[in-house]
């Protein structure tokens, strides 16, 4: 199938464009999926390259995972016959990621969501206000972090024990 070859070439060209030393890991688990982990400072270059040269201008969403010490962000881009995921690892003690809203306009709300739920701040975002949480939600409480469970979250927000 031609798209299988195309997807492999897209990955190869990306590695070439940002430099092999900036690629931490990559895999192609099945025909239409590519995952590549890169260094955070090359995120903007990678996304610009994929958008302009590889037809991956549609950002489906940004996923975040709390891995304990680090937080991993996945940028899922897609085109026909390919979902291309760029992963970056953000250190837990300084959770900041460069914003890509000037490259892909549709990222505005996804970055705000990541900020609300995982506390990763999108630097350069035009309007990084709260998206999902209420006004009374305390600062610094990011629900999707593993250190919170439902009980401790309710205590932190409502202030009393929830039965």
């Amino acid at each position: 199938m031609s798209y299988v070859e195309e997807n492999k070439k897209t990955l190869e060209r990306l590695v070439e464009a940002i430099g092999k030393e900036n690629v931490i890991d990559s895999k192609i688990p099945k025909d239409r999926r590519v995952y590549v982990t890169i260094k955070t400072d090359k995120l903007r270059d990678a996304i610009t390259f994929l958008k302009e040269k590889e037809g991956l201008f549609h950002l489906a969403t940004i996923t975040g995972i709390d891995l304990g010490e680090e937080r991993e962000l996945n940028y899922h881009l897609n085109r026909p016959n390919l979902i291309f995921t760029i992963k970056v690892r953000i250190p837990g003690d300084k959770p900041v990621v460069p914003s890509i809203t000037d490259i892909i306009g549709g990222a505005v709300l996804y970055e705000r969501e990541i900020n609300d739920l995982l506390g990763v701040f999108p630097e350069g975002h035009p309007n990084p206000k709260r998206l999902l949480m209420t006004e009374e939600w305390p600062e610094g409480v990011y629900p999707l972090l593993k250190k919170w469970d439902v009980k401790s979250l309710r205590k932190a927000v409502d202030g009393e024990e929830w039965t």
């Binding site: 209420t134 009374e136 629900p143 919170w148 439902v150 979250l153 309710r154 927000v157």
Partner: protein, 139 residues
């Protein structure tokens, strides 16, 4: 007196409040208006404003942001007023128990008169709940 006579003399006006529901209960409530179930033949109307309503039909597990809104709408309703909690989420939180943003049931926010069970309950069940409630209240 029979149901039809009862309905002809008392027509409850309903207001619907969606408290962070998944919409399944809501579309069944709206389906009650449609030709197959046609709640209007009982005189029950779905109104937009709490000031005109007798019965508030609440669906959803009530998220934190909506707690105060539900209270406010309840306070705006004139007496006598009744609250019907529709669906498992409104009864006890349903599948959303142990979710951090959920109040787990309407009765944690306002007093409830009737619980309609189901996920979602069929339109006939919802209507049945409202009618039973009003009959038991002496209407």
């Amino acid at each position: 007196m029979g149901l039809v006579t009862w309905a002809r003399t008392r027509s409850p006006w309903l207001i619907h409040f969606n408290g962070a529901a998944c919409n399944a209960c809501d579309i069944e409530i709206v389906a009650a208006l449609t030709p197959r179930y046609d709640v209007e033949r009982f005189g029950a109307l779905l109104k937009g404003s709490p000031r005109h309503a007798d019965v508030i039909v609440v669906s959803g597990s009530i998220s934190r942001k909506l707690k105060s809104r539900l209270k406010r709408i309840y306070e705006q309703m004139p007496e006598p007023k009744f609250v019907v909690a529709v669906g498992s989420c409104a009864n006890t939180g349903g599948t959303f128990q142990d979710c951090y943003n959920v109040m787990e049931g309407v009765d944690k926010v306002i007093p409830v008169n009737a619980y309609v069970v189901g996920c979602p309950p069929k339109p006939e069940a919802i209507l049945d709940g409202v009618v039973k409630l009003l009959k038991s209240a002496g209407y």
